[in-house]
């Protein structure tokens, strides 16, 4: 196993001292989290640097359990003379609240069996990227964007190169200590093109990785950004109708997120979830098969423990369309008398199909290939959704004319039953890792 970096002892001491101060001020229990995030970004536009930002932010967050009452506080004012008065004041504020018998730190047994697998969060080479290299990468993205056929329609190219390194240490008064250091690196391009009717469609692309050596090819990001913008030229809307939807893997996370939030115990307990009481029931087609997996190396949602300190484990959400588990944190778990799982999503692992996106489009024959959502919302209480979309018509199994200014709407309980194909291509730059999805009989609104 690789040797992992550790956060500094001084950093840990601030959090441990905060727990001690909270207890001295009268808190029966406390959890403290120290975090420090360094971010550097270069934004480049049309041949020169537009903006350079470089900073390190740090802060202390504290959860307080005082006489059966609860509050959570945070501060970036870490002057030694400021911290103790801040904590005393926070404890006094907590005492003004109502008692809440459900509010406790997690059962310490949930801290046990913390996985030790190396999740490869942190690049030891972080810090070797120079300002000059960032500028070269940013320029290379623009140069590639301007090299594609049709580039004379390009009005503006903005690119960015950014990286970050986060350190976190968390400690509770009932025996949890945990820390992590993670890094990430991102490249992006955004291209605006001139359409004949005065519109200036914009699109772009990006890629990223936890390690600088995993950073993709800037030329590919640039070309893809320009191509994605140029294919938007001449977009129209088509008549409203019921059609097959092929949903691009990059954008599918928006719909998947709308399915996940009603899985939280807080939504269930507050009666704001259309998935309440449906555990063990089929809520989707057989292809809806998703597991929450916190232990994927280099995954953007990976973790050894969650925000409460609960040790990470795989959590099946849907098996062949059947709802298996909810996201249950300590507090709402106690209110609902449900065993805590974890309160938050990590990564999703999908049961993948065998076909690529282009094969799925070919199979669909006729329909709409949705490549982006614009606004809209999903009602977690009822499952009704209505979302703006853009994309392309699929005609005779091929991508045809671009469409825009259209909507899809329906109810999620119907939608997921109409999931008829899942691609083999999980989107690696999002923790939801959504593959291309195909839904039948989706209601589109246009002309």
């Amino acid at each position: 196993m690789a040797i992992r970096e550790a956060v500094s002892e001084e950093f840990r001491a601030v959090a441990r001292d905060a727990v001690k101060s909270a207890k001295a001020a009268g808190a029966g229990g406390a959890a403290a989290r120290m975090a420090k995030v360094r971010e550097v970004a270069v934004q480049w536009r049309d041949g020169q640097v537009e903006q350079v930002t470089e900073s390190t932010t740090r802060g202390l967050a504290l959860s307080l359990y005082v006489d059966g009452r609860f509050a959570s506080v945070s501060t970036s004012d870490l002057r030694p003379e400021a911290i103790d008065p801040f904590i005393m004041d926070a404890v006094a504020m907590t005492r003004t609240l109502s008692e809440d018998p459900f509010r406790t730190l997690p059962d310490p047994s949930l801290y046990d069996h913390r996985p030790t697998v190396d999740l490869e969060f942190s690049d030891p080479d972080y810090g070797t990227v120079t300002a000059a290299r960032r500028r070269d990468l940013a320029r290379a993205i623009e140069d590639a964007a301007r090299s594609v056929p049709g580039a004379d329609r390009i009005l503006s190219v903005t690119t960015s190169v950014s990286d970050s390194r986060s350190e976190m240490f968390r400690v509770t008064s009932n025996g949890f200590e945990g820390e992590r250091i993670d890094t990430s690196f991102w490249l992006s391009g955004s291209v605006t093109v001139q359409d004949e009717d005065g519109r200036r469609p914009e699109d772009g692309d990006f890629c990223g990785g936890r390690f600088v050596r995993d950073l993709g090819d800037p030329a590919e990001v640039g070309r893809s950004s320009a191509q994605r913008a140029l294919v938007r030229l001449g977009a129209t809307k088509v008549p409203s109708g019921i059609m097959t939807m092929v949903l691009d893997r990059r954008t599918g996370g928006r719909l998947v997120g709308a399915l996940l939030s009603p899985l939280s115990a807080s939504s269930i307990q507050q009666r704001r979830s259309f998935l309440e009481g449906r555990a063990g029931e089929g809520v989707g087609g057989a292809l809806l098969d998703i597991t929450d997996d916190p232990l994927i190396p280099k995954g953007f949602g990976s973790r050894h423990f969650d925000g409460e300190g609960i040790s990470a484990q795989r959590l099946p959400l849907f098996e062949a369309g059947v709802l298996r588990n909810y996201y249950v944190d300590t507090y709402y778990g106690r209110k609902l008398d449900m065993k805590p799982t974890t309160g938050t999503t990590s990564n999703l692992e999908w049961s993948l199909g065998s076909k690529s996106q282009s094969e799925l489009i070919l199979d669909a024959a006729e329909g709409v290939f949705v490549t982006g959502f614009l606004g809209g919302n999903s009602n977690g209480t009822t499952g009704d959704y209505s979302l703006g979309i853009q994309g392309f018509m699929i005609r005779k199994g091929e991508i045809a004319e671009p469409v825009a200014e259209m909507n899809i709407s329906g109810n999620q309980l119907e939608l997921w039953k109409r999931l008829v194909r899942v691609g083999n291509d999980p989107y690696e730059f999002s923790p939801l890792r959504t593959p291309t999805l195909v839904f039948e009989e989706v209601s589109f609104a246009g002309v």
């Binding site: 740090r58 970036s76 605006t192 200036r200 914009e202 009704d384 200014e405 909507n407």
Partner: protein
């Protein structure tokens, strides 16, 4: 005499060791590589949230932020860095980092500074929020909870969030100007879940303002309960909206979201300077009927979007986006104002010291027009009347925008008939402006807690509109074909 927020201004950051000498030395470091302009943005923000759930106020959140951002500008280029440690050494290090945007000789920091005086106070507060004890705030929440349950037997859950915030800012720039402001904010959100005949519905009503406790009059609280319950209960009778293009009448007030998305963002000067907005090169062009007038201003007393001074130290006035149907003025920060050779419009805003300022909206609304609400509704044979909204979005260059309608009605033969719910509406900015063919005389500025997002930065805004008719726009309802 009551001590007002104004009286506290000039001294606020001296408690943190910030004085002219520190400012001068920090600016000198910022200008060490030849930057043309530099500014410092100090901020101390204290925010509280109290939440009522399941009948009691059983959780509270408090956040304190203290920091300073350093910006260095050369032409259109910006260097930015910030620190949470207000020592000279730490600020200097941030300043030197930001300075690297330029490559040249040391520029001089100002020898003297002058405080921008004569700023108005648009916040109408007599007490600062950090002087208000929780014991004063909590009865607001429990009182609302009891009244909401008493209003209707179908109510099952009530969630209430009360928030207050005090943000002190000091901006000092390389022209020697210093501006200070202490900006209050409060918000109150009431959300309820009801059950009826085995169905369940949920809705929310909220208000926000730059005011103090006196904002929460009994009348306002009673209105909140009524609105939250009515907006929830009507959903049980609501049908799905139809799909396709049709006339849409937007009710006075929150429908201002249309202006925010359809024109406001596209008029932010940074997009136009870069040529990436659909409104680039359209100043002086006729874009709407002559009775359409759209403004963005920061001056209405107590409004969520109002500010005495923007986050670059410029006074917030009133900007005409559309005057008599003609596109008039972009929304500027100091970089874009310099680019276009115009005066800044006081629209340079930022989420916090962690971010450089950008051209942003404040309170965006349409002035009253010649029509009457009743005649507008009566003019529609088949369409929608929309009253409440949750969110919207826009593509700046293509001009396509959306807004999500939470409550509304079908209009059939000139009359409001069945309620509708949960439908997204999508249109194209310039096309929709042309399609606004009736404007009523009932301008209302909405008091909701609207928050605008751009480049990862959130800022509070207001919006408003009279009742208007959009002759044709795509309604994202259910298609039956």
């Amino acid at each position: 005499m009551i001590e007002t927020v104004q009286d506290l201004r000039p001294t606020y950051f001296s408690a943190f060791g910030v004085d002219e000498k520190l400012i001068r030395e920090a600016l000198s470091a910022a200008l060490s590589r030849g930057g043309e302009y530099a500014d410092l943005f100090f901020q101390h923000r204290v925010a509280h949230n109290f939440v009522l759930e399941d009948g009691s106020v059983n959780r509270a959140f408090k956040g304190t932020e203290l920091g300073v951002g350093v910006r260095v500008v050369k032409g259109d280029q910006t260097g930015y860095a910030f620190t949470e440690d207000l020592s000279l050494e730490s600020i200097r290090e941030a300043a030197r980092t930001a300075a690297t945007i330029a490559e040249g000789l040391q520029q001089e920091a100002p020898a003297r500074f002058h405080l921008t005086g004569g700023l108005p106070s648009r916040y109408a507060t007599t007490r600062r929020w950090d002087d208000v004890r929780p014991e004063e705030k909590l009865p607001l929440l429990t009182g609302l909870n009891d009244k909401t349950f008493a209003m209707n037997d179908a109510i099952r859950k009530v969630n209430i969030t009360f928030g207050d915030e005090m943000s002190a800012i000091l901006i000092a720039d390389s022209t020697g100007r210093i501006a200070e402001d202490v900006q209050p904010m409060t918000l109150l959100y009431l959300s309820c879940v009801a059950e009826k005949n085995g169905e369940r519905e949920q809705n929310t009503y909220g208000v926000a303002a730059r005011r103090d406790m006196s904002f929460y009059s009994q009348d306002r609280l009673d209105l909140m309960v009524k609105e939250a319950v009515d907006r929830t209960m009507i959903l049980f009778d609501a049908v799905q909206a139809p799909a396709g293009e049709m006339p849409v009448v937007l009710g006075a007030g929150a429908s201002g979201i249309l202006l925010h998305e359809a024109i406001g963002h596209g008029m932010e000067a940074d997009f136009n300077r870069k040529g990436t907005s659909i409104y680039a090169d359209k100043i002086g062009k006729k874009v709407a009927h002559s009775f359409v007038n759209v403004v963005d201003e920061g001056t209405e007393e107590g409004a969520r979007g109002s500010i005495n001074v923007d986050d670059e130290g410029n006074a917030a006035g009133r900007t005409n986006l559309v005057e008599d149907g003609v596109l008039t003025t972009y929304l500027h920060d100091s970089i874009s104002a310099k680019h276009y050779g115009v005066k800044p419009t006081g629209n340079g805003r930022r989420e916090s010291y962690q971010y450089p300022p950008l051209p942003r909206m404040r309170s965006t609304y349409m002035l009253p027009g010649p029509h009457k609400k009743e005649e507008i509704i009566a003019s529609v044979k088949r369409g929608l009347y929309c009253t409440n909204f949750t969110n919207g979005q826009v593509q700046i260059g293509a001009g396509d925008f959306t807004f999500y309608v939470k409550n509304g009605y079908l209009i059939e033969d000139g009359k409001l008939t069945r309620p509708i719910k949960d439908v997204n509406i999508i249109g194209n900015g310039p096309k929709v402006l042309e399609q606004i063919d009736m404007v009523a005389d009932d301008l209302t500025i909405d008091q909701g807690g609207w928050t605008c997002g751009k480049d990862g930065q959130s800022v509070p805004v207001s919006q408003g509109i009279p009742t208007v008719r959009v002759a044709s726009i795509t309604v994202g309802g259910r298609s039956d074909r």
